[in-house]
Symmetry: C2
Subunit: 337 residues, 2 copies
DNA sequence: CTGTTAGCGCATTCAC
DNA sequence: GTGAATGCGCTAACAG
């Protein structure tokens, strides 16, 4: 292990001077700087990051809790987080929670043991165990694309899900639809409620009924889309929906698959909408009408906010609602007469 | 900051005893253990992980270099890495390189500064800068699903790409195909050469010609699939291919999209194959014939090997070639007469 | 501008 | 079985 002491001996200076040369070169004569740099080069010296961190009390790492790595939407957010983190000098510790509380607790505790300086939560749960809740009081934490339930003290960055729900509904109504189904993802989350409320508000305004049993689903997976269609079209309801809201693109992919399998045409027989604007959604047959979320920007913004929290800087605002974009593509069309 | 000293005072013991109680409880009387644990509880003490790490010289972290986070195949590997790492007590630092050498250098250097104990490379390049190459000599590094070019000293875990290429070719030939196109991903990588060699070996055995200009593409993206089809079907070649090998599922998605857009039916007019068995590939219309890679297991295995390297344990073998599985689905069929 | 000194928080000798 | 002392590698205060 080549350490600072060896370099200092090699350069014929003190360890402090070596440290200074590397961290604040302007505090050092050009002459010594050259001497030191030469020794650094020669010894192949790299400062031990662990030691620096103990000393400064900062790990310069952040941990990201994500329920599912294989979801391209989350990964796009994490790309943004990574980019933002890198620019600010943070490393990203990946916390794949699989949606399990125990794993959330484990990863969240990293910030309690100085392994990370802050936490970004992509899921909607409060990630600390009951045991750690007290310790977690002052932990820098931000949630992005979701909102931590029952916790008003943590900032969040999310989409205007309510407005997006309204926009999707208006879009479908403009095509003449009046019988709707919904295949939802996680039903306990705040964004679920927002989207649902957005949809229902328009239906109410338009005097359209929505029966509770037309809301199915419960997770953001392709299989949920398949099962959702089965439930919506198999039951004894005399009139199946002519349009189905899917609460993410994966669900929509499953729904599209299952509708086709049943010989139903999209959008001639049934219109469907997705959510997130995942890359493949544009290349489906037909391409999915969906809501674009600025995932990458959300990730970057989350790092900005987290960094301010870590540095105890005041936040301008604690909640950021980002605009969405409705992408009208081929999976929606006029209602069948 | 509640540190070990506070706890020791609270428990009326020395700091050494607190440390022992937490790390090796068996070295301590039950009586003192209880005393200490109570104090730990009461103080809400969590050992500072940074300090522990400086002391032991181990960060218990590994860094994973991945060229693209949005590719579900890579993410499946990383799921496996995460799981394996967690079981072995390692944390995963995410290094999204975007395929850029500068970012690779930056992330790879983490293992030079004790920020990580080892490195898993998912891409095919030697990730250290020329400057760091000497220092990197003894760095624990493993590559998975690719092979680090020109470096024989690092172990790798990968698929039998040669055999997979052969299997795909046999499959298509059994359907009567004899005019092939290939849309490749990164052409410089070892796995590219292996797959290509596999395909060509069968063609040669069967006496089938393959013109060099039927190999197109250059990156693992949907757009590459689209452009690839354009190149293969637009050129002045009198006879376009009846079957196209796509070197991953994303490319196949693009190819499928573009073929349909041109009014060509899959598989009636053109057969296509993917690679990786990404989740959505099964739900395309038609579902993609593809090669399943045991991505999750590859990730787990990579951690096993890396851990052995970190602990300077001898490796049984330095190169692991895993079996693949050919999934025959709807995107391949008999050649059109 | 540079060197000396004193820790950061913890783990590990070595005595007892 | 436990405590006192030492040091991991580095940075920050203070002198000079």
């Amino acid at each position: 292990m080549t350490n600072i002491k060896k370099v200092s001996e090699l350069a014929g200076v003190s360890t402090a001077t070596v440290s200074r040369t590397l961290k604040s070169p302007e505090l050092v004569t050009e002459h010594t700087r050259e001497k030191v740099m030469k020794a650094v080069q020669q010894a192949g010296y790299r400062p031990n990051w662990l030691a620096t961190s103990v000393k400064t009390g900062r790990s310069n790492s952040i941990v990201v809790l994500v329920p599912n790595l294989v979801n391209p939407f989350f990964m796009r957010i994490i790309e943004g987080i990574e980019q933002g983190a890198q620019e600010k000098g943070y490393s990203v510790l990946l916390g794949d929670t699989q949606g399990k509380a125990s794993r959330e607790h484990e990863y969240a505790s990293m910030v309690l043991t100085n392994r990370a300086d802050g936490l970004i939560q992509l899921d909607h749960s409060f990630p600390f165990s009951a045991n750690d809740a007290a310790l977690a009081e002052k932990v820098p934490m931000v949630s992005v694309c979701e909102r931590i339930e029952g916790e008003r003290r943590y900032p969040f960055i999310e989409l205007d899900n309510y407005a997006a729900g309204r926009a999707l509904t208006h879009h479908l109504i403009s095509y003449g639809h009046s019988r709707f189904g919904i295949i939802a993802g996680q039903r306990t989350s705040q964004i679920h409620h927002d989207r649902l409320a957005g949809i229902k508000s328009v239906l109410k305004e338009e005097g359209i009924d929505f029966a509770d049993n037309m809301l199915v689903g419960g997770s953001y997976r392709i299989e949920t889309g398949i099962e959702g269609i089965q439930q919506l079209f198999d039951r004894d309801v005399p009139v199946p929906p002519t349009a189905v809201f899917c609460f993410n693109d994966d669900i929509a992919v499953g729904a599209l698959y299952e509708l086709k399998r049943r010989g139903l045409r999209v959008p001639q027989d049934v219109s469907i909408t997705g959510f997130d604007n995942v890359k493949v959604s544009a290349y489906m047959d037909p391409p999915l009408t969906t809501v674009d979320q600025p995932a990458y920007e959300m990730g970057r913004r989350a790092v900005d906010v987290l960094a301010q929290l870590i540095n105890r800087q005041p936040l301008q605002r604690t909640r950021e609602i980002l605009p969405f974009q409705l992408l009208e593509r081929g999976s929606t069309g006029p209602v069948k007469i």
